[in-house]
Symmetry: C2
Subunit: 208 residues, 2 copies
Amino acid sequence: MKEEAAGVPEESGAPRRRGRRPGGSDTRVALLEAARTVFAERGYDGATVRMIADRAGVDPAMVNHWFGGKEKLFVAALDLPADPGAILSEALPGDPDHLAERVIARLLQVWDETGGTQLATLLQSIASHEVAAGLLREFIGRVLVHKVLSAVAPDRPELRATLAGSQMFGLAFVRYVLKVEPLASADHATIIAAVAPNLQRYLTGRLP
Amino acid sequence: MKEEAAGVPEESGAPRRRGRRPGGSDTRVALLEAARTVFAERGYDGATVRMIADRAGVDPAMVNHWFGGKEKLFVAALDLPADPGAILSEALPGDPDHLAERVIARLLQVWDETGGTQLATLLQSIASHEVAAGLLREFIGRVLVHKVLSAVAPDRPELRATLAGSQMFGLAFVRYVLKVEPLASADHATIIAAVAPNLQRYLTGRLP
């Protein structure tokens, strides 16, 4: 849990790792830049770790070293405040009827830690750059839907993913960016009780 | 319905009205600028039509002439793609159990007309300017909650307004800005059937 949040502020240079950086933190920055380019050109599925490493002029092993794999590199390149795929994977085990509660609880925890600034930045980059929007769209389709939601949703996983995304994205926006009360300072239990039934319907309920 | 949408692209200078502009279209621009300043300083309730007109150096009657009143001037100053207060007021008459369907149908109609660009612009300005976020927050609180939602919501209108806002804002974002399929090109009937039960619960259902 904590390692997710700790892995997020990548722009600060991840000082913990500096002692053993094999390619220097320049390697990390070069990989992030290369990743944004290659993901934008090839899409998430089309981009490989080797392509990105080649573009950055470093060994492919550096991707695992600095980011722990392609998906985490992608999340870092997009500057997402949390890895939605990882959060959904963590929340999957357990009673499917309470999946929404687990997802919301985990997201609130991550969002409270990262706060509104990073969400506002993400929003701005999505709203102003078609590339960022395209990458996130690709990610939602390939990673969230095919790896995660199709395992739990009985039918129409794509529609469910976008509906669930609309609810959770809107919640993040109103609570952390727009900061409208009482949602802005509501405790987690209140939000979970208010939102979970709606999210659960999108995830596993009957849809038209 | 059409007049709402036609009233929205105020930045284009509303050519229809130019023939009888008493203060020139400079008056309109001056009023918009003054409105942004005065609303930011005083809040929605604290700002008066007279204060804004004085700041702009024009007669207060110009506010009605160019915008049709304080609320519409506020909506124009915020560059909202639609007046949420007017839409909710229009949707209120009728069976309360189908209120959500009417709200979503009307919003989809307006949003389809204005498209993603204006929503993306609004999003950017909210994410990057605390003043815009503050104005919208004020508007949600004073106008949506107190004038409209408290008439229909049995209890906790503020919480309901923010929850409903989170759903509708997220829907606009995913459909028009992020453009994730299948939500991006789903027809209105599909979206209404999928989202209305959730929105209805926020508006009039049982909350924790």
